[in-house]
Structures are given as structure tokens and as C-alpha cells.
């Protein structure tokens, strides 16, 4: 048998009831989706109304204006004295003095000692 164009194009058609069934199913699903979307929208609107109502009640509450503004941040307190560590500055000072000596101009120390004899003088020179 040769499946020619005629026989291929003449294949049986879907039953008429199928078209009606598909249409009904599609429209039913579309309406269902619309209902779900509308319900979600209404829920969103209701939630927004509740939020607005609560916010309005808070603002309009008596004495609401006298309420002190909320403290958002505090300045840090002074550090405790006990926690301060005193470091001995000796090391540093010593280092500084040594450095000062290093940079100071050299001076000769001369000690002149006189004896009983005026012609004898002892001179002690320290470098």
C-alpha cells in the first residue's frame, strides 16, 4: 500500500465533541486563573488597608506627639581608668638621652691640681 497524499490528508478528523470539550476546558481554566488573580489582588488590597489603619491609629493616638523621639544611637562613654595601662617611659627617655649625648659636641675635661710646691702643678686631662 502506498500512502499517497490523498490518503494522508483524508485521515479521520477529531470528533466534533473534542473541539467543544477543549474550548470548555480552556475557558474554565482561564476563568479559574482570573478568579485566583482577583482573590490575590483583593488580599493585597486588604493587607494594605490593615497596614494603613494600624499606622493611622499609631499616629492619631493621644499624646503620640509628646513621645520622645527614639534613641537611635548613643555616644560612647569615657574609658574606665583601671583599664588604662601605664607604660614606663624610662626606656624611651634613656634612648633619647643617649641619642642627645651622641649628637652633643665633644668637651675636654681638664683638672688642674696645685701642690705645695708652686712650681709643681698636676694637670689631669680626661677625654
Amino acid at each position: 500500500m502506498m500512502p499517497d497524499d490523498f490518503s494522508l490528508r483524508d485521515l479521520s478528523e477529531p470528533p466534533e465533541a473534542s473541539y467543544e470539550a477543549v474550548r470548555r476546558r480552556v475557558m474554565g481554566e482561564i476563568r479559574r486563573q482570573k478568579r485566583v488573580r482577583n482573590a490575590m489582588r483583593m488580599l493585597a488590597v486588604a493587607a494594605a488597608c490593615v497596614v494603613l489603619a494600624v499606622a493611622g491609629l499609631l499616629v492619631l493616638r493621644p499624646g503620640a506627639g509628646a513621645v520622645a523621639p527614639p534613641i537611635l544611637a548613643r555616644a560612647p562613654g569615657a574609658p574606665e581608668l583601671a583599664s588604662i595601662v601605664h607604660r614606663a617611659p624610662a626606656q624611651r627617655r634613656r634612648t633619647l638621652s643617649l641619642m642627645a649625648h651622641a649628637h652633643a659636641p665633644k668637651q675636654e675635661l681638664v683638672v688642674r691640681m696645685q701642690t705645695d710646691d708652686p712650681s709643681v702643678v698636676i694637670i689631669w686631662m680626661v677625654d
Binding site: P3, R9, M27
Partner: protein, 177 residues
Amino acid sequence: MEASADALARARRGDEAAFEELMRMHERQVLRTALRLLGRVEDAEDVAQEVFLRLYRNLCGFQALAEIRPWLYRVTFNVCCDLGRRRFVAELPDEVAVEQTQESDVSLEQRRGLLAEALAYLPEKERAAVVLREIEGLDTAQVAEILGSTPVTVRTQVSTGRARLREIVARLERRKG
């Protein structure tokens, strides 16, 4: 035609009656193609439902009515492939091929039934090419666009598909005869 274009515009605005009108315009194309590709009316109905729901969701993407027809073919083919992979894996009847020249005494009606059955045994793309080209009467370029392939490939698929159909029908005839 003007009324049809108006139906598209109204359907895009959310008019359900207009969308139903659009469905009536294209339901034969969708349901028939799905039936040819899947072989079962129940599956074809499922596919048609999914295709039209997708059309409804994508209505805003269409500027002209002419854009809908090729789009529907493409989506029908894709949905059929998805459904076909899940539900329907046809296997060739395990029988020795008979000679093609053998005369058959089955009636025309029976032959149509055999052809419809044989279509289900073709590989997915070959079946789609044969259905769209030979049954729906689309030209090769259109079929290539729908299947996402080239005209040369489509021509090959149609040719191979027809040869394979001939062989499958012969096997089925032999088995049932």
C-alpha cells in the same frame, strides 16, 4: 478578516468572548495536528488545551492575526513532543517486512486507520515533518521554521518518513490481515 483582527485586539484587552472566537478560528488546526502527531484523541485534547492556554498568556506578543497560525503550529509541535516523550513511546511491530508490491485486500477505511496508527511509529521529527508538510499542506520553509531545522533537512525527513510509513503500513497490514 477585519472582525478577526478586531477579535485579537479585544482578546488582548481581556475580552473572553473574543478569545473564544480566536480559539474557534484555530482549534481545527491545533487539534488535528496534535491528533496526527500523538495518535490519541485524549492526548490531542490535552495538548490543545495547553496550547490555547499558552496563547492566552502570550496574547500581548501578537501584533497581527497572521502571526498566530505559525506560532500555534510551533507550540503544538513542542507540547506534543513533551507529552509524547512522557506518555507514548511507540515500538514497531516485531515482524518481518513484507514486499511493498504485495496487494492488500483491506478496505479504504481500514487503510486510513492503519495509516493513522503507522504515523505513531515514525520518529518524532519525521512524523512532524510528514504531518505538517503532507497533511497540513505547509510549504517546506514553513515546516523548517516550525521544527527549527533547514528546508533540506525537512525534505529529507518527509521523504524518509513516507518510505518508512509505507513499510510500517505493510507490516501492520500483514499483522492484522
